[in-house]
């Protein structure tokens, strides 16, 4: 008989190893054993993902590995989610608009941030790549978003970040804006009036959590 601790540890390890098969199997097993799915998620998968974040930050893991970890995480979440008790009193998760700035069609970074935010419990609205300024603003209004995250790989597309921020502020929209991407740095983010900057996917999640007060 496997213990609860072993299952939770196993889930964390499966996420770190990017082992989709194992994480799915352990998620099922946790349900069979009557482990609270919330606990399996928080103390199993999320714990693993936190370790993945650390390993990514010190460059022990890279994009291919982190993508596998996310897959493993999703596999477990898919199993556990239907069994989660809905807590009516719980705070509604924050909603995030995410997209790649106008003119730019590189979206690996954006997809990575999207996954990490989803895993961290945010609700994501992906507006895709080469997204015009107006679309970011319109979507933020439609979705009553709490956060808008904009990515750019090209210095030319960086220039379309500031207008999004200006328009949102001009309309007094509550959404906070996080920017990121290879050519962006914190000085640039500050200069264009962004509320936050993430140098990579891991940092983006931290910044998002800070801004939302989660």
């Amino acid at each position: 008989m496997v213990s609860k601790e072993e299952i939770l540890e196993g889930l964390a390890k499966a996420v770190i190893d990017g082992d989709e098969v194992k994480s799915e199997e352990l998620a099922k097993k946790s349900l069979e054993l009557g482990i609270d799915p919330y606990e399996a998620l928080m103390n199993g998968c999320n714990k693993g993902m936190a370790k993945v974040s650390d390993l990514y930050e010190c460059k022990e893991m890279f994009v291919p590995e982190i993508l596998l970890s996310a897959d493993a995480m999703y596999a477990a979440i898919d199993i556990l989610k239907p069994h989660l008790k809905v807590d009516a009193s719980a705070k509604k998760p924050a909603k995030v608009i995410i997209g790649v700035a106008q003119g730019d069609i590189h979206d690996i970074g954006k997809n990575l941030v999207k996954m990490m935010l989803e895993v961290a419990g945010f609700i994501l609205v992906d507006v895709g790549k080469d997204v015009p300024v107006d679309t970011f603003v319109k979507k933020a209004e439609e979705e009553d978003a709490d956060l808008v995250t904009i990515s750019a790989l090209m210095t030319t597309s960086m220039l379309y970040m500031e207008p999004v921020i200006k328009q949102l502020k001009g309309k007094n929209h509550k959404a906070k804006v996080i920017v990121g991407g290879a050519p962006i740095n914190s000085d640039f983010a500050k200069k264009i009036g962004a509320d936050g900057y993430g140098k990579d996917a891991v940092e983006a999640v931290k910044v998002a959590k800070n801004l939302i007060g989660a």
């Binding site: 460059k59 022990e60 994009v63 291919p64 003119g103 069609i105 690996i108 030319t156 220039l159």
Partner: protein, 521 residues
Amino acid sequence: MVKVTDDVRIEIPDSSLQKEHRILCEGISKKIKFDPCLKIKKIKIQKPLLGDEWSLIDLIKYELKEKNLSIDYLALKKLSNKLTSEHYIKIIEYHNEIIGISEIEQNIYGIAVDIGTTTIVTYLMDMGTGELVGIESLLNPQIRYGEDVISRITYSLKNGVDIPHKVIVEGINLMIKRLCEKNGISSDSIYEMTTVGNTAMHHIFHNINPISLSESPFAPVMSSSIDIKARDLGININQSGNIHFLPLISGFVGADTIGVLLATEIYKNNEISLAIDIGTNGELVLGNKDIMVSCSCAAGPALEGGHLQFGMRASTGAIETIFIEEDTFYTFYKTIDNGKPRGLCGSGIIDVVSEMLRVGLLDSSGKILEHNNERIRINPLNNQKEYVIEWKENTDTDQDIVITASDIREIQLAKGAIMTGINILLGKLDITVDNLERLYLAGAFGNYIDIKNAIRIGLIPDIPLDKIKLVGNAAGEGAKLSLLSKEKRIEENNINKKIDYIELAAEKNFNKEFVKSLKFT
């Protein structure tokens, strides 16, 4: 302005430093028929007779037996003092226009220019014989406006194109001046300049704002070849001289790639060839005489030493080759000019990664592996592993020379970008690496790197070494060919129409291929 907040290493890209930089000027020299577009004709001119209703131009046309010749205005202005008495003269003609009239003993020259994002190379050619007279090179003075094309485009977007245009013209003029001084010739005797460069360099050179290159779909303003009078661009060759820029393929594959094609003649051969021109941007062409596809890979500067903690240009003290001893992880290396080591240049970077893979310091995912050895340590500042290549007491710096986990990731991104391009192009032709019959490696890169190591780190495809041909500065070679051969000049505008350009990031399988290509396998 940039504010320095931390330790920095400053590289001074000015001409004083330029001498010690190793810049590749040599390309493969193709045997071609010397038959340039620029025609030099010797004629004997008669003094017009009173009563003949002949103008001086009529006399020249009569001697040349060409009726439909026009004459350049500045050449026309000089005509009056050339034809005072009966004598032999040289007529310089380009595309049915007289652009110069010179003394019979005057040698006529042309120049071929390769405007690279980082380096400009100028070749001075004797247009009477087709021989190379001299070479000059310069770091592209636009570097102060950004190290890659995108940042140059961004600069032009914000500040207009006038300034980067002006500095590139000044840079070329400086090289022309040096060539003239060294060879004792007058710039007035240079009547044509052929030019290659990527699309952004092309636009900026012509003072055309590269704004359209900044956004998807990255369309160039023009793509066929272009001829402009020297005086219109402010290039200091003969002011009536012709400035020819080879055609472009797309927003990110430019005339430099056309140059590579002219030099390698992929478009004429049966064998399936892949041409790789690795610089800050990597341009690829795959195909043969029937079909050709091309793409541009944003490799970034890591392979040239940029963005790496101890990366540097190929100058004195740069580690250029390196060998790591198994078990002890002790390094044996060679530096440029045998100087005390200061950092790693491109070839050294490829070597060190390859060697780390070989001796088990690095796994195929790019992770630095733990060993009980003082050379592998963790930097307490960022928790990253690093490998000590040389201890500080043996270096020309006050730090240990290391390669960090972050450096390895940068290199993975760069080589991943190129391998993704190769795999997507192969997919377009529905072939695999095994079908490659020839690999041309162009650019400085090809000539200095250890090919086996480049294969081991997955920068270039794993094919038998005898199929790999180093072609040096093939882009510059192409500019020379266009200067010396009318046939090549005609071909260049045909090839650019025959090539299909693939926008990698717009390909459905791009992300998947890219992630796959990051691995060292």
